[in-house]
């Protein structure tokens, strides 16, 4: 084995692929493809986060950090085993995707300027497309399967929302308004649902638009459940039905937490408390509901992990 080690090192060096543990000379780093691939990956991640910060989409920025960290961690853990041999077609498609990513990012601030809503479907597609681009540049089409879990996580970061809201034009705001009005009615408020989306209370009313329907919260929790299932796989609850139930629980949690938020908005609108309304709607208060939804799902998954640790007892022989 000891005699074989230098030969291996020479092979890796001739292919421009050094193992991280074999890098001892800092100057050699600049000649190493692996280091540049790492720099590209870090650059793409930094740009994805920086543009969200620049356009002021704090909610999506927070969720993006939550999704990019496991992706980085998973890649880092298997860095020694990755096959980093690309092909011409893979490198070309990867370069086109990264070029498209950079073009979209550069045009983003001008598109967002003047809008109060910072949602842009392209910003939601970019993490997956740029991640796919890096994977193709790093390992080619043949090596894509190595990055399957990471690409799944990046897919769920924004693409379900784009598919549901922008491609399929599904708007669940009438359902949200109906359930919120129902909830307020049972808490003791006199509510009236008008035109499917207006919740009227004595003193004021709110209109539930698609942006407030809870779809955002539901898709985030859906993605978070996928992150948890990939990062912390369960041994006892590994069947498909278990995974479907966990994902369903996450989506329902997102919907229910948003119902409470909409109900609170209606109460604040009825009391004509504009400052409080703005705080809970657009200000820091709006982020608290997202944190509550993430916290509830986090506790639920921690409970499942605890249950997973408990070994089923052997049957007692009589």
């Amino acid at each position: 084995l000891l005699e074989d080690a230098p030969v291996k090192q020479i092979i890796y060096k001739s292919e421009g692929l050094m193992k991280f543990s074999q890098i001892d000379n800092p100057r050699e780093l600049l000649k190493d493809n692996t280091v540049w691939l790492g720099a590209i990956a870090i650059g793409v991640m930094a740009i994805n986060l920086a543009i969200l910060w620049k356009v002021g989409d704090e909610a999506h920025l927070g969720m993006s950090v939550l999704f990019w960290l496991p992706v980085g961690s998973m890649i880092w853990e298997k860095r020694e085993e990755l096959n980093l041999k690309s092909d011409r077609i893979g490198s070309f498609i990867g370069a086109v995707l990264i070029g498209l990513f950079l073009f979209t990012i550069v045009s983003m601030p001008a598109r967002i300027a003047g809008q109060r809503d910072t949602y842009d479907p392209f910003l939601r597609l970019m993490p997956f497309l740029s991640g796919l681009g890096i994977a193709l540049i790093a390992s080619g089409i043949q090596g894509l399967k190595q990055y399957k879990p990471e690409l799944i996580i990046l897919f769920f970061l924004g693409i379900p929302k784009v598919i549901i809201t922008d491609l399929l034009n599904i708007d669940i705001s009438p359902i949200t308004a109906k359930f919120s009005a129902f909830m307020l009615h049972y808490v003791g408020y006199t509510t009236y649902l008008r035109d499917s989306v207006f919740i009227d209370l004595p003193g004021g009313s709110v209109k539930v638009y698609s942006g407030c329907s809870g779809m955002e919260s539901m898709t985030y929790l859906l993605g978070l459940s996928v992150v948890c299932l990939l990062m912390f796989p369960l041994e006892r609850f590994h069947q498909r039905i278990h995974k479907i139930l966990i994902v369903t629980f996450a989506v329902i949690t997102g919907f229910l937490v948003n119902l409470v938020r909409v109900a609170l908005m209606a109460i604040l609108a009825a009391s004509s408390n504009i400052e409080a309304f703005d705080y809970w709607h657009e200000g820091d208060g709006s982020l608290i509901f997202g944190m509550i939804a993430v916290g509830i799902f986090g506790l639920f998954y921690m409970f499942l992990l605890k249950q997973d640790e408990v070994q089923p007892q052997d049957p007692v022989e009589s």
Binding site: N33, I40, G114, Q115
Partner: protein, 51 residues
């Protein structure tokens, strides 16, 4: 041949990313209050009063 071109190719992409990152960090913040609310989505922030 492909292997020899790979390093300059990766350096070019990394440089492009670095330039865009610097451009993002140095560009002024997006003024969300400038102009009219451009999308119907933005109207969701309106507070509706019953007539």
């Amino acid at each position: 041949m492909l292997n020899q071109l790979r390093l300059p190719f990766l350096i070019a992409i990394a440089s492009g990313l670095l330039l865009v990152l610097i451009w993002i960090l140095l560009s002024p913040d997006v003024d969300k209050n400038k102009g009219e609310d451009a999308t119907p989505e933005a109207l969701s922030y309106q507070l509706h009063k019953p007539t």
